[in-house]
């Protein structure tokens, strides 16, 4: 029994029954399949998180975001500028307590190099209702290329706890059809 020492003192010499062995082999192969599915997706899949990251001082990241905002602001909402950077350009998004800055307006089916960083705490970039979720850390500038393939008004919700105002940290993101 499982609560007593093995009945056969040489238990390691006992053969494993074919049913058990068969299952072990199936489970092992399934593990390999799942492993290589991840690897394979890097070559054929369109959703792979970029590895491009730089160490950055929060103030200098903020300065880059401000420079971009100054150039491309088209209007403002509740005091936060809405920027419409040209397709293919570098877009900066600051996560800080408790807002996203600035608000982005992107064109459908165009690619952007999105730079993400946080000012003081960790934040979570959660694009809804698309449901893309990326962690943002202070001191790290993460650069990824995104291609919005739907137009409309989306929400960026913070999904990493960042203090008692965390629940107010949400901002729109606009994707417009090419005019």
């Amino acid at each position: 029994m499982a609560v007593t020492p093995p009945a056969n003192r040489l238990w390691w010499n006992e053969p494993i029954h074919i049913v058990e062995l068969g299952w072990i082999v199936i489970a092992f192969i399934w593990g390999l399949v799942m492993f290589f599915t991840m690897v394979y997706w890097h070559s054929i899949g369109e959703q792979n998180l970029a590895n491009e990251t730089y160490k950055v001082v929060p103030q200098s990241f903020a300065a880059k975001a401000e420079a971009m905002t100054e150039k491309y602001t088209v209007r403002d909402e509740v005091g936060i500028p809405v920027v419409r950077p040209p397709p293919g350009s570098d877009v900066y998004l600051i996560a800080r307590i408790w807002s996203w800055w600035p608000i982005l307006e992107l064109e459908k089916d165009q690619s952007y190099r999105l730079h993400l960083s946080a000012m003081e705490y960790s934040h979570g970039f959660s694009l809804q209702p698309v449901n893309i979720n990326i962690q943002i850390q202070p001191g790290y500038e993460h650069v990824l290329t995104i291609t919005p393939n739907q137009s409309g008004k989306f929400g960026i919700v913070c999904n990493e706890f960042c203090g008692f105002g965390h629940h107010t940290m949400v901002s729109p993101l606009y994707v417009v059809d090419r005019s």
Binding site: P5, W30, Q47, N131, F161
Partner: protein
């Protein structure tokens, strides 16, 4: 020392039980139950706050309760109980004295002091940093100090377990190899040492940082090392509760492992590979390469998952084989239909086995897939997943085995047997609901650790689909059900321990008496010698495997539909 050790002989099993070990098992189990009660209450209040129509707690209380909930149930309840399991699997099962009872009491006191210190610090309100306390969020220094003291205590308890194994071997209190259950407990203890050491590596500098002696803790490095504790500690749970599954099947049904070799190999795979799981929390983190993520998140090609999948066959397989030997041989499932469903130890373990596998196991692998994590990270899917593993898996199993520990070790009759009969079903159903509905809300994008997903206080707001709010309401209802089941457990245990009738000095009705007196059973009575007749289990495992494969690829399909990013 050995000469002064006092034993009693268990009338049911014939085992010699060290009275010091017995008192320690009692103390640790009772402490565990107290923390379960406190932590469970916090859990209920959180679920009721997430239910938008009720929205019970104010914002500061919510995050405080969330921090305390994680601490009390994930850490205190489970580790205290695991210490009890370790003492049981060493001293009791090996017929041996506990290595150093006095040190074991010191460990217990350290753990109580540490847990209390951290709890009090959290309740003072300045340390609502969540259980994970990600830097640069800063808690009061005593928050970390309490955890460190607790971890030291737990480490000392593990030391006692190892010491007991050594003594049992030297004093030849058993023959041959240690029982499979002890082997599983040993797995848990080895992983615990790794876990607690990782905890020390990260919590000590973080404590010094909160005191102002260190000025920077890198947030990604913090997560990497913290989760070497945080996730690996869940693997202690897995090893411990799988060991308990084997133990309960053996004690109630006389079940034998199908193959000692396969089951032990499965535990060995846990020791080698489970520690890599820290990566599960870093899949959408900046600054870490995809190669590292893929290798680590898959436990080096899913070798630890392989361990669990082996147990998924061997645990129900041992139960089926034992039941068939007892004569339940008709058709494919008579063994299961006529299993002792009225015995809470059995029903709890079997429910736990099914739900851990189907809800917790499958969702865990999917969530831990590098790219799929993009559509799940930090949503409610995550707590949905780990409530399936930790609540329907570990907690339900520990509850179930309590109904055996009460009469066999603590020598008390269960005070309210009818309530005990219903308890695993009520709690299991509630916990399954919590898991499923949180996972459901998570797939709709609802974030975890969020006080108000209606965004009423925000200048912009965002509207989640109404189905998400329905999920949150159902989650609240399930939490009420689970809390009811939890209360039924706590009341029954506390009443039985302190006011229950002493068990009569006669054997309890368990299927087959446990005996380590050393008569070797007929070698390979079934199972390992080639008469493995378990068609029911094969059917169940096939259903499991098909669900696993389908659910896995359905999620790849969901992923393929979101915005391209690279």
């Amino acid at each position: 020392m050995a000469a002064t050790t006092q034993f009693r002989t268990c009338p049911t099993t014939g085992l010699k039980i060290d009275l010091a070990a017995q008192s320690l098992i009692k103390a640790n189990a009772v402490a565990a139950v107290v923390f379960l009660a406190i932590g469970g209450l916090f859990g209920l209040s959180i679920a009721l706050t997430r239910w938008p129509e009720i929205h019970l707690l104010p914002v500061d209380w919510f995050y405080m309760a969330l921090t305390a909930h994680g601490l009390d149930v994930l850490l205190c309840w489970i580790i205290f109980f695991e210490v009890a399991v370790l003492y049981f699997a060493s001293a009791v099962l090996l017929n041996c004295r506990l290595a150093a009872p006095r040190t074991a009491w010191v460990a217990f006191v350290l753990m109580v002091v540490g847990a209390a210190l951290t709890n009090v610090t959290v309740l003072q309100g300045e340390s609502s940093v969540m259980f994970t306390s990600y830097t640069p969020l800063r808690a009061a220094p005593n928050f970390y100090l309490g955890l460190i003291i607790f971890a030291v205590g737990a480490l000392v308890a593990c030391g006692n377990f190892f010491g007991t194994l050594v003594i049992a071997k030297e004093e030849r209190t058993y023959e041959g190899s240690v029982p499979l259950v002890t082997f599983g407990a040993l797995t848990a203890a080895i992983i615990a040492v790794f876990t607690l050491a990782s905890g020390a590596v990260i919590l000590i500098p973080t404590w010094l940082w909160s005191l102002g002696y260190i000025n920077h803790i890198d947030p990604v490095m913090y997560k990497l090392v913290w989760w070497a504790m945080g996730h690996s500690s869940q693997q202690i749970n897995v090893s411990a509760h799988v060991a308990v599954w084997y133990a309960v099947a053996a004690i109630l049904l006389g079940a034998k492992p199908l193959s000692e070799k396969a089951s032990r190999l499965a535990f060995l795979l846990y020791i080698f590979f489970l520690q890599l799981a820290s990566a599960h929390h870093l899949l959408v983190e900046p600054g870490i390469s995809s190669e590292w993520k893929i290798f680590n998140t898959s436990y080096a090609m899913y070798l630890a998952v392989l361990g669990s999948m082996i147990h998924a066959l061997t645990v129900p397989g041992t139960i089926e084989a034992a039941q068939r030997k007892l004569g339940f041989n008709k058709g494919m499932f008579e063994w299961l239909r006529k299993a002792p469903w009225g015995n809470p130890a059995f029903s709890g373990v079997f429910l736990s086995l099914v739900m851990f596998g189907f809800l917790g196991g499958i969702s865990g692998v999917v969530l831990g897939t590098e790219q799929i994590n993009l559509i799940m990270h930090n949503t409610l899917y995550v707590p949905g997943h780990f409530h399936a593993t930790v609540v329907t898996g570990t907690t339900l199993t520990f509850m179930a085995v309590t109904y055996l520990i009460l009469p066999l070790i603590l020598q008390r009759d269960v005070m309210f047997p009818r309530m005990a009969q219903w308890q695993p079903y009520v709690f299991g159903l509630g916990a399954a609901g919590i898991s499923l509905f949180m996972m459901g809300a998570g797939t709709l994008g609802v974030p975890r650790r969020h006080w108000d997903v209606t965004f009423a206080d925000s200048p912009f707001g965002f509207e989640f689909p109404s189905a998400a709010f329905m999920m949150l309401a159902l989650n609240g209802l399930s939490a009420i059900l689970a809390a009811t089941g939890g209360l039924m457990y706590v009341v029954n245990v506390v009443a039985s321990v302190f006011f229950g009738k002493k068990t009569a000095d006669k054997p309890m009705k368990v299927a087959v008496p446990v005996s380590t007196s050393g008569q070797p059973a007929a070698v390979g009575a079934y199972g390992s010698a080639g008469s493995l007749n378990i068609p029911g289990t094969i059917t169940l495992v096939t259903i499991f495997f098909v669900s696993f494969v389908l659910y896995y690829y359905v999620n790849w399909k969901y992923l393929a539909e979101v915005w391209p990013l690279r």
